[in-house]
Symmetry: C2
Subunit: 105 residues, 2 copies
Amino acid sequence: MIKVSVLYPNKPGSRFDMVYYVDKHMPLAMRLLQKGLRKTEVDAGISGTAPGEPPAFHGGCQLYFDSIGAFAEAWGPAAKEIQADIPRYTDVAPVIQFNEIKLTV
Amino acid sequence: MIKVSVLYPNKPGSRFDMVYYVDKHMPLAMRLLQKGLRKTEVDAGISGTAPGEPPAFHGGCQLYFDSIGAFAEAWGPAAKEIQADIPRYTDVAPVIQFNEIKLTV
């Protein structure tokens, strides 16, 4: 199993509409990526660990697929519509990476 | 439920021993934080999304607790031993933040 992690950097002054992201964008993305999507988790950043420290990321999501290939197959036909929706909730580009899940306990 | 996300930036030239992290450090951390720790996931970064792009993070972990307070209670007595172990596998400081889980499907 692999995990695609999508994180939106909390740059000073940047915009992120968490309500739109959770209520509109993620349901759209999950519907468009449903072929092969095993699990989805959506997070909202609360804070860093130091008192008063803002979170490094506004939040983001983790998308679980059997393989990078399975993700790519789902992403191809969905990419255009998902990407076109991003400016509706943020003006920052997400940091996206593929992870191997080493342990789940 | 909250999620403590711990991510190790993949700075050029930085060191990260994933074998030690998965086999030694995380079992130590999970044992020391067991009071209140609901779930743990450990990831190894594979790549970014562009061809040949390295992952933004070497990897990291997500620690699930009922609340930030429950994490703080577990972390207090465990912090010293966990932090002393970090130089054994990396020379980068992790980015740590608290997240609210908005959706798990």
